[in-house]
Amino acid sequence: MENILSISNLTKTYQSAGRTLTVLEDINFSISAGSTNAIVGPSGSGKTTLLGLCAGLDRASSGTVELNGINLSGMSEDQLAQIRNQYIGFIFQNFQLLPTLTAIENVMVPLELRGEKNIRSRATDLLEKVGLADRGHHYPAQLSGGEQQRVSLARAFSNAPRILFADEPTGNLDAETSEKVVKLLFDLNKEAGTTLVVVTHDLELAARTQRILRIKGGHLIADELTDNK
């Protein structure tokens, strides 16, 4: 199977109070298209930094990130934005919906950016899939946490991404809602054939993916395949 994401010798350092702080050091791995993956590790291990680098939200100090055959290093911010719009979907711990847009408008934004047609009906379909067809005209503040995350799921899948990055997708939800959102995430993912990369410290969630990458102190310390198909 072809690789959708290849990370080679990835290092990220920050300058802080005159000292160099190494957050990630010499990380190497590849992710094959259509697979589900989890990056796990304790707080401060560098997993969110890794996600940011993989998704082209941040720039590496050294090493390369290759996404869908495109080397992200050396790309301008606007080129990275186009890549995100074209190939990447995001789910965030705190949902990150645009507060001034209704649920359906939030879902429509990636499609509108691509200049696609029949946007509204496609967004309505997606909202229906996440069970919020009747809440499309509500603003994020009028939705519960679980509902907001479901809108976020619909938005993430709206541009049919090749790869979906989820940062602690259940971090702000209770157990019952978490379960519903996770099920929805995996179902939609399977249906769309999208590659999934979940960053979490929820081992139960990680266990539902096909592969677990463990990070500690900025190093990749384990790379395990699970029994999930």
């Binding site: 495109i70 934005a81 186009q82 645009l98 001034t100």
Partner: protein, 851 residues
Amino acid sequence: MENTGLITRRKVNIRWLFEMALRDSRKNRSRLLLFISSIIFGIAALVAIYSFRYNLQKDIDAQAATLVGADLVISGNKPAATSIKPLLDSLGDKRSEERSFASMIFFPKGKGTRLVQVRALTGAYPYYGSLETEPASAGQDFKKGQMALVDKTLALQFNVRVNDSVKVGEMTFVVAGILDKAPGQTGISSSVAPIVYIPLHFLEQTGLQKKGSRINYSYFYKYDQPVDIDKLVKRIEPRTDKAEMNIETVKSRKENTGRSFGDLTRFLSLVGFIALLLGCVGVASAIHIYIREKIASIAIMRCLGVKAFEAFLIYLIQIIGIGIIGSVSGAALGSVIQHVLPVVMRDFLPITMSTDISWLAVGQGILLGVIISVLFALLPLIAIRNISPLNTLRADYSDVSLSRDPLRWFVYLLIVIFVMTFTFFQLDSWIASIFFTIGILIAFLILSFTAWLLMKLMRIFIKSTWGYLFRQGFANLYRPNNQTIILIVSIGLSTAFICTLFFIQSILMGQVKLSSSGNQSNMILFDIQTNQEDSLAKLTRQQHLPVMQQVPIVAIRLEKINNKTQADVKKDSTLHIPVRAFTYEYRVTYRDSLSATEKITDGKWVGKADASEDIPVSIEQNFSRRNHVKVGDHLTFNVQGVSMSTVVASIRQVNWNKIQTNFQIVFPKGVLEDAPQFHVLLTHVPSAAVSAQYQKAVVQRFPNVSIIDLGLILNVVDELLDKIGYVIRFMSAFSIITGIVVLIASVRISKYQRIRESVLLRTIGASRRQIFTITALEYLFLGVLSALTGIVIAVSGTWLLAKYSFEIPFTINLIPALILFFIVSALTVIIGLLNGRGALNRPPLEILRAN
């Protein structure tokens, strides 16, 4: 690896950007409107002034003929030479003649005397418009007999009615009517120099037309058939120039009136522009905080693939949209306010004003509003380009600085260029617009520096030993998202502006009052003939009044400076001699000693002329500086047709502030004694009653002698300053209102910032009183410091104006400053508390949800 082929290039979808701008603004529109309300009053002020200017221009064009009253006016300050007489008699189809001069009049009924402008008229002038009188027919009828028209200010002052009598010189006239308006006359001109019309053929009998009296001779012409007046003027101008007479036409009056009101409206539009600038600072600050709050949304958009420039455009569209709304509202308000301006400026207007909506003014106002709100909003907007999508993952990333973009220097430059260009169009001088811009910049810098210093000092001086409420209240001044700079700049600038106006007005008034106090001379008698000099002095002493000074005055003109004539100066600008040095009529005196107000700064005082040499004269230092004349230079004067060669023997410093006769040029004794001259006498009258009695005695025995009563001048100056002050205060009210709006907007923005904190404090048990005290302390300190800095700037500005512009001693009247200080401080606290009261009265959770 070749990447680019895999990225689909996407065009910027302008329509979508507009849609996003609209969507994104949904929940913020009321706040955006609040931000933009800061510019509404500035725009309103400018649109009102512009509309006034355009309407005025239109009205002047339409009514110019009634300002002049004739097609052509030729005038001079001496009787027409015989060589020009035939020309004067040949012009026009209808002719009128007028002689005007200052003279005393006497009302026998109330025994009142006053210096007025006497106009002796013959013919049917004015041909356009009319002498508006009560009764209306009096305007023409008074010429039929021994009758006069008396200005309404005189009628009011002396309770004069129709059929009363007025004594002008040695003749008594019946008051035929009360003059309401004469061509070109304004409310101000009639209070400074009220007019009395008499028929010209009685002038001789009044005895006022004596040698030495300064009479202005005017000839009015009306053409029944249309004539090319420009062509006519071109043809006759060489001859009238030679006869030292001026020509005025409807066209030239139109230009002159337009120009003088152009200056006034330009000045007032600068005052309005300051209000607008003030509002723009408010906008920039509000947008800065708005964008800071939008960082998360922008980061999400960036995550979803929105390019940096697109994100920038989304917010730029919002600003332009809201700028248009603000400017249109401002323009609408301005169009309403312009109806008030003719009332405000009534006393300065020589014409009837219309108040049509000027679409040109409205268009200019809207354009200006949009440009300036975008320019100032650009400062925070450009930072949008730097907002990273990483903010979606890390909340702490949002401390990204919004103010360190190097492009901001370019925006600053644009703002400075804009301000300078705008002021250039108002002032018509690059030097003046550079000074104005630098002045505004310095005021901004001082206020910003004060705010910065305050924040630094607060960090250092707040002690942990202070009570919690004090620590919290003062710490609010420097904590993140504070409003210290914007509040100090906006409140301080408004205070400085208003305070400077008060200071200048009180200094000017003080100056006039000072001159009239104590035992200094406060009454000036002039136009005294040589043969009247001694008997008038005797009369003065008989009235138990001192003769403080008696001075002969001779009117002369300058012909050459070091053998250079006016023609040479016109040709060679390197001589640095202004042409007006030759056109001015100098009133000089002759004496053998210096007066108490004079000091020699260069050369040697020579009190007596030696017939064999050039006449040694003494010149005043400003004259020397202005005309680049120094000791030893040669000046040739024309003394009533006789050429006199002189040499500059000394340069004098003169204290012009004393009420006494002072001169630019002083001749030694032994030269001018036989030249045509008149005399001036100075005395001191202790009271209004003595003044009236003395004036009456003088007018009865010496009707040609004019008297300037300083008490009366004081009243006129007071009235004049009051009226000018009223107009300026009216315009500066826009700055004050803008200041208040910016204050309210800033405080409301800080309310959004602080609401969580107040609610948190409420949640953990802070009482209403504690939160109230914290807020009150913060705003009290802000108000006090802003007002204080504003007043300090006003003091410095006033000092500069007093020293370099008005050239008068600098004094400060602290009472208006103190009143202003308390009002500004209190207002700041009140607005701060009013805005915060929501957080005090409602349950914490309700507020959190609402915000």
